[in-house]
């Protein structure tokens, strides 16, 4: 950046900060309100609700009594981990093949990869529901919950982009020595791809963890529902069962939000703009 630009930027720095701070308040206030509201004994919507006072954990106990938080969290966890494992195993294989191997139909697979990112997934939920729940009998089943998200195409794309950047010559030597492609992938390519793998897994995590419509359709049994679904059913028809419904709802919202937010804050530098850019460039 040149000196003249630097000076100009400094001049506009106050304006920048005011703009960004206004934005930050608008983005963070609902989160602050969620946490404070979840900790107050009586949670009403008036202005005092934004002030933390008389803090208690009662709302967490209440929402746990209504929807069994532990069980819901476990279901969310199983669904999410299932998706992560499938994406990691099959996605890395596909990404490596698309980047470093030549085979018939490669162009078509890559075109399909780009195309599916443009298809609104919700449109497919009805036929998928008919197939998965009615035909395959996978209602109230972890496999049925995982199936539509099993391999995240954006992650496959990220793996492919990363493996394409590795120099061919790196793999030639191993091939001449007779190493199998699987071994090359496992021992040479994958260790180098650790940052890409982490980014892809973080991007993949928020999908199944936050997903509502699909698990809502496939799980009727409360014991099988992930937290987003049980919290939604609390929101629409169980609020009357607790003393402080708004507080209990906000407590549930906090429990649902915390894992994704915590992972994001921990690994924030991996959610870089360039990754997103390459992930959506299509």
């Amino acid at each position: 950046m040149s000196d003249t630009l630097e000076t100009r930027h400094r001049g506009g720095s106050a304006v920048r900060h005011i703009l960004l701070s206004l934005g930050a308040v608008a983005f963070l206030f609902p989160f602050y309100y969620m946490v404070v509201g979840s900790l107050r004994g009586t949670t009403v919507g008036d202005l005092s609700a934004a002030v933390p006072s008389g803090l208690t954990g009662a709302n967490y106990t209440a929402v746990n009594g209504a929807i069994s938080l532990g069980r819901s969290l476990l279901n969310s966890g199983i669904m999410t981990i299932g998706v992560l494992v499938c994406t990691l195993v099959f996605g890395v294989l596909a990404g490596y093949a698309l980047a470093q191997l030549r085979f018939r139909g490669k162009g078509a697979v890559f075109a399909a990869l780009l195309l599916v990112q443009m298809i609104p997934f919700q449109l497919l939920t009805l036929p998928l529901y008919v197939l998965v729940v009615r035909d395959y009998g996978l209602g109230d089943n972890y496999l049925g919950m995982i199936l539509p998200f099993a391999i995240n195409s954006t992650a496959v794309f990220l793996f492919r982009q990363f493996f394409s950047q590795l120099p061919q010559s790196l793999f030639e030597a191993a091939r001449i020595d007779g190493a199998s492609e699987l071994r090359i992938l496992w021992q040479i390519a994958l260790p180098m791809a650790r940052p890409a793998v982490l980014t892809a897994l973080l991007l993949t995590f928020i999908g199944p963890w936050n997903e509502f419509l699909w698990p809502f359709l496939v799980t009727k049994n409360a014991d099988m529902q992930p937290l987003a679904v049980s919290l939604a059913s609390f929101l629409s028809n169980l609020q009357g069962t607790v003393a402080n419904p708004a507080g209990a709802l906000l407590a549930g919202a906090c429990v649902l939000a915390v894992p994704a937010v915590a992972l994001f804050l921990l690994f924030q530098r991996h959610f870089t703009s360039t990754d997103i850019d390459s992930g959506v460039k299509g």
Binding site: G23, A24, G45, A94, I119, T125, L126, L128, F212, A253
Partner: protein, 314 residues
Amino acid sequence: MSVNLQSAPAAVRDSAPARREGPRRARGLSRVGALFVSPYVLFLVVVFAVPLVYTVWISFHRFYFTAPGTDVDSPWVGLSNYKDVFTDPVVGRAFLNIVIFLVINVPLTVGLSLVLATALNAKIRGRAFFRAAFYLPYVTASVALVAVWQFLFGSDGFVNHLLGSHAPDPSWLVNSHLAMPMIAVFVTWKQLGFFVMLYLASLQNVGKELYEASAMDGAGRVRQFFSVTVPGVRPATTLVVIYAIITGANLFSEPYLLTGGGGPDHSSTSPVLLMYQKGIEQGHPDFAAALGVVLVAFVMVVSLAARKLTERGN
């Protein structure tokens, strides 16, 4: 192709003579590649291709949900389901709602995220904090955020207490004029961080010399924003618009949860919500399938039109 490879016994592949493997590798073609990619191909077939074809098939038949194992005829009914879709006033309302969504969401998203990204695109103090703050709603579950918004914008909520006698009546989420705009604003807020990051990446590609040249010519900051930044990030804008259209076409949780199942008089019903209500709640999957096909066509037409518009003059 992939199925064949998968079912080939592993022993046969491994014991293939090296001299046969040699020329294959020299030509650069490998069976391993097809083998590696086959689970993913299978996934795409099962989760995308088959359901897509199945929707179209269902949409031309009278289709009932049946208990597993029972065999019920699904007679061909031609365009009858489509006729039902096009004559249902709620369908029209649902598509109008998507248009309302886009009219509010697209300019707000493009404007706000471009301004915030431009403000972030410098070495300023607290950059990491601001980035994290903007991105937070994007990584958080809709269901959790909907819970807070209901509480903020409820009849007895924080915002109405703040506004006092200026609060809208009926309140935000149960007002037939405000329900859909509220959804558009909620989604804008939730997704904005993603688009800020997208624009931030795109801004790296805008030539610095363009800013310098325009500064030489005496262009002010605002002038620069409109004549250098805005055209410079046009490819990103196209992407933002396409994503907004896909988001609009996918709307379900927000109308279902935020405005209690589609708002008063279907004022915030979305096509996907309608597909759920008609297809699963009311047991007309054939109607829902035809609606889905119409929605895909709608998305394609609007996306193409938007692409033409945003890329004009490029």
